[in-house]
Structures are given as C-alpha cells and as structure tokens.
C-alpha cells in the first residue's frame, strides 16, 4: 500500500492528484519551480519541495532533483500526471531503480507506445485495424514511392511525437517534396528524433478514444469512449462522452478491441487508445497514450469511476475494484478547456494576473482549476488554466448546462478563450453532433 506520493507535475492535474491522495489517506508531496511558489498545488499539498528555476528543463523535467525530492521526503511512489515526464520511459525506470513506484505502466510499455511505428506493428500483430501507412522513411524518394502505392492524401507524422508537432498533410507529389524535410526538422526540434512515417489522411475524420485501466494481475476494463473531434491545430479543446456517432454495437466492438490490445501487450495502469473514424464509421488505431489524460473527467462523470484513485490503487498492487459488467454509462458529459488565449487574436497566449476569479457552480458542473483571485499566470508553462465539465441526462442538457456555467465564470484581468466556446456551443452543426477534426478550421475562427 502506497503511503506518500510525490507529484511530479503542476497546475490543475497536481491538484487532482492531491485530492485523490486525500480521499485515500495518502500523503501528497508537491514539487514546484521558482515560478510556481504561489501555486495552489504548493499550498494544498502536505509538503512541498522547490526543485529548480522556472524553465521546465531545469525543474519539472529535471529528473535528479525530482528523485532527490522524493528521497528526502520519504515518498514511496511518484505520480507523473500528464505532459512533462509522464511518458518518459527512462524516468519510469529511474523511479523503479530508486524503489519508487511509478504510477503508470512499465517502462518497456511506455517505450513501445511512445514509438508510433513500433506501436503500429504491435497493433497489427494484435489484429487491430490500423490506418494504411508506411514504415519509417529514409528519404524523399522512398516517401514518393510509398505515397503512390497508398494514394493521397497522406499525413506525415513523427515517430517519437505527438501534440501535432512534426505533422504535415500532403495532397500530391510536390506537396510531399516540399514538406518532407520540414516535418523531419520539426520532429528533430520537438522530440530529438527526426524519424517520420506516413499514414493515409482520413478526411472528415472523428477522433474517438477509449479509456482503459488494467491491474498487475491481467484484469483490464474499458470505460467507454470520448469524442475529442473538436480540435485546433491537433490540440483538443472540447471533449464529450458518449459520442453521438457511435452505436451501442460499435461501442461494444471498439471497447472489446481496446481491452484486447491492453491484454495483448500486458499493459498496466490507466491509458487511452485513440482511434480515428471515417464518415462510414470505419475505425483505425491511431496511438495509445500511456498516462492519465487531461479529459479524464468526462469519463468520470458518465461512469462514476474515480480514475485517479483507481490508478493509484492498482499501482500500489491492488486488484481493479471494477469488472467490465459493473460499468454503467449514464447521461452525457462535456468538457471545455479554458486557456489563457485570446480567440479574437489568433489564440495568442496571454500572461498576467487574475485580479478576480468567480467560479461557476450549481448542479452537475465540475471545475478543475489551479487558479484563484490574485494568481499570476507564469509565462513558462501551458496556457490551460481550468477545465469546466458539465453533465446532463441528454447531450442537449449537458450543453445547456455548459453554456450556463460559461456565462457565470469570470477570470477578471485576463483574456481567456470563453468567447470561442460560447460561439461553438451555439453552432447548429455542433448541436446536431455533426463534428469532425476539421470543424474549427471550418468555423472561421
């Protein structure tokens, strides 16, 4: 049983982990950079250790100080949250070597899932449909040859990447010629690995992902899907569960595949299997995220399963507390990611102080945020400042609640992207559930 957890993260997810620890009677140790000394996770944790200057490379990504902080505070486990070191296999391995439980899958699984080409090979072996694509590409000449075999449009992707970096859509030979090196360079800059491959680009696609969780004894369940099609430059902005596009039969089929994948690679802890779905409801494996995700609350709202607590319990050696037959889906949940960005000015990131924060509330509204009145947004990190999640018996009710919540909440002194959501939640096509990953680009914002 875990007694004290070091939280190797900041912001709202650090708070989310502290809350799970409190409910489980586990002590929480926060780490922070000099820019986050006044952050809420520092104030709310049982202990807090400063680990470095504002630059994440010297603090939240600096492994020696994080391990050392766990050692001097007598922690027995580390929760990496999302981003930062959450999908770093070396970090997971170092934790293990220092007798610290890494709350996530085994290092070798992180390595497997982190390498997009290897993950695709593992999925093919497990019999999971994958988007037609290529092996890692050596040269433009090879890329052109492969492209003409599969057919355009294609998307160039980085083997070591995610978050939209290193991705390029190409529609013909000349596109490919001009984009290949750019994509390689972007991949090298972002992930220190310039290996790229290509996949068939699916037009009018939906992003559907399945939440899974598995224990160390071969038990695994899925907790349904999240529709994350509303994206801007491959960054998710709105997530909902369930997806209006899926039938019960399709949900069962995809869920079964997700569980099969988890069992075939002997995956443990929480994870997400991302699928891309075309307009004819054909679905293909995209990638697996070996961590808790930003959008996990929508799943918690429709299943009543506390994913963070379950994640900590299985990492500590407990069996899953739930069986697949126990999981019931009830109602609809929707999440909006509130970012310090100006939608009227190309979503330009904003820094400054929130002079007055007025939270939204009322029935079936959840807010996960680390901000408070007087909090200054440090310029060194992600621009997301809050997640608002609304639940409803129907999708229509969930959306109405979200609109009500967005009209209540105030982050005075700072421009945030709420105006964008207000526009989106009134859009006829969105209300009908007619959404694809290109939706925002088509909205003209």
């Amino acid at each position: 049983m875990i007694k004290r957890i070091l939280i190797a993260n900041r912001g709202e997810i650090a708070l989310r982990i502290i809350r799970a620890c409190r409910e489980l009677g586990i002590e929480a140790v926060a780490v922070y950079s000099e820019a986050d000394a006044e952050s809420l996770h520092v104030k709310l944790a049982d202990k807090a250790v400063c680990i470095g200057p504002p630059n994440p490379k010297e603090s939240y990504l600096y492994v020696p100080n994080i391990i050392s902080a766990a050692e001097i505070t007598g922690c027995d486990a580390v929760h990496p949250g999302y981003g930062f070191l959450s999908e770093n296999a070396d970090f997971a391995d170092i934790c293990k070597k220092h007798q610290l439980i890494f709350i996530g899958p085994e290092p070798k699984i992180i390595t497997l899932m982190g390498d997009k080409s290897e993950a695709r090979a593992a999925m093919t072996a497990a019999g999971v449909p994958i988007v037609p694509g290529t092996a890692p590409l050596e040269s433009v000449a090879q890329a052109l040859l492969e492209a003409n075999k599969i057919g355009y449009p294609l998307i160039i992707k980085a083997s070591g990447g995610g978050g939209g970096k290193g991705m390029r859509i190409v529609r013909n030979d000349s596109d490919l010629r001009s984009s290949f090196e750019i994509a390689k360079n972007e991949a090298r800059m972002a992930f220190n690995n310039d290996e790229v491959y290509m996949e068939k680009y699916i037009e009018h696609a939906r992003h559907i992902e399945f939440q899974i969780i598995a224990d160390n004894y071969g038990n695994a369940v899925h907790l349904g899907e999240r529709d994350c099609s509303i994206q801007r430059r491959h960054q998710k902005l709105v997530e909902e569960s369930p997806s209006v596009f899926l039938t019960d039969e399709l949900r069962r089929k995809m869920g079964d595949i997700a569980v099969k994948v988890v069992k075939s690679v002997k995956y443990t802890n929480a994870g997400t299997i991302e699928f891309i779905m075309d307009e004819h409801k054909n679905f293909y494996f995209m990638e697996m995220n070996s961590r808790i995700q930003v959008e996990h609350p929508v799943t918690e709202m429709v299943t009543s399963v506390d994913l963070l607590k379950e994640q900590i319990m299985v990492a500590g050696g407990a069996k899953l507390s739930i069986k697949q037959s126990d999981i019931r889906f009830y109602g609809y949940a929707i999440e909006c990611r509130i970012c310090a960005e100006d939608p009227a000015n190309h979503f330009m990131p904003q820094v400054g102080t929130i002079s007055n924060y007025i939270p939204c509330g009322g029935p079936f509204v959840r807010v996960d945020t680390h901000v408070y009145s007087g909090y200054s947004i440090p310029p060194h990190y992600d621009s997301m400042i809050a997640k608002i999640i609304a639940w409803g018996e129907t999708r229509k009710e969930a959306i109405a609640r979200m609109r009500r919540a967005l009209a209540e909440v105030r982050f005075e002194g700072l421009t945030v992207n709420i105006a964008f959501f207000e526009k989106l939640l009134k859009n006829e096509k969105f209300l009908k559930g007619d959404i694809t990953t290109n939706f925002i680009a088509g909205m003209g914002v």
């Binding site: 140790v29 202990k47 807090a48 250790v49 020696p64 100080n65 391990i67 050392s68 050692e71 001097i72």
Partner: protein
C-alpha cells in the same frame, strides 16, 4: 580480512554510539564512517522546515539589504541532503570566520546516493551556516552567509 569480518565490524559500529571507526592490521587498514541521518518522522519534520527556510530566506534578503552589498547567500543548486564534510575526508568543514575563496568547495549535497561538491560563487568570510548537518535541502535554500571582501 574477509567480507564477513568487515560486515561484523559494520554491524558492531552501527549498534555502538560511535559514528566513525578506523583500524590497522598489518597492511590492511579499515575505516567505517556513518553519516548522521534522521529517521522517517524527522524527515517530515525536516521538510516542514523547508517552508520555514523559505521564510528565513525572505528575512535574510531584507537583512542583506541592510548589510548593503557586503553579504551574500550561497543557496542550494540541487535538491538533497546537506553535509559539511564528505566521506573521503576531502572536504574540511568550514567554520564561522573561515576565509572562503571563489570556486572553493564549501559543502556537499548528497542526492540519489551521489555526493555533489558545492562550491562558493563568492570570495569572503563565512558568517553563518544556515542549514543543519544531514538536513534535507531544496533548490534555492540558503546554505551559508558569506561576508564579501572589499
């Protein structure tokens, strides 16, 4: 001397009230040294002190202003445990009033079972040691106050 003999020496010293032991037997010399290390409950205490250390740092900063530019604080560049000595005897503990040269090793911080030498960014005289022997220190925590030479 075989491994078991050494093991029994270590056990014996651990149980005794001594932290250090050395002997010589013919060509063989043996030296055993234990570091003072707080137990679990004290570790948490140590970390509670980190918050206090931060307040102290703020207080130091105000005091420093009064001292003008004559005093500087050496802060911890890494997270770990603070020691004024090293296992190898390479480092002699510095005391109040000792002269300190720029780049001179002034203490050791143990992190991930590795001893890291910490050097002074300033030349001057050691005024005050601000961390306790064997105590956990976090990034930026004050370790020494140095009076700068004019």
């Amino acid at each position: 001397m075989n491994v078991n003999t050494i093991k029994s020496f270590i056990k014996f010293i651990k149980q005794s009230r001594y932290n250090e032991f050395s002997m010589k037997d013919g060509d063989v010399s043996l030296k055993i040294k234990f570091r003072p290390r707080e137990d679990e409950s004290e570790t948490i205490q140590g970390i509670d002190n980190l918050a206090a250390a931060k307040d102290q740092r703020a207080a130091e900063a105000t005091r420093d202003k009064k001292d003008g530019e004559f005093c500087k604080i050496i802060t911890a560049p890494i997270v770990g445990r603070f020691y004024s000595t090293m296992t190898s005897d390479k480092l002699a503990p510095i005391k109040k009033g000792d002269a300190v040269k720029k780049s001179q090793t002034v203490c050791m911080i143990e992190a991930m079972n590795i001893e890291h030498e910490i050097s002074s960014p300033y030349s001057g005289v050691m005024e005050e040691m601000l961390a306790d022997e064997g105590a956990p220190v976090m990034f930026g925590q004050p370790l020494f106050k140095i009076r700068i030479n004019n």
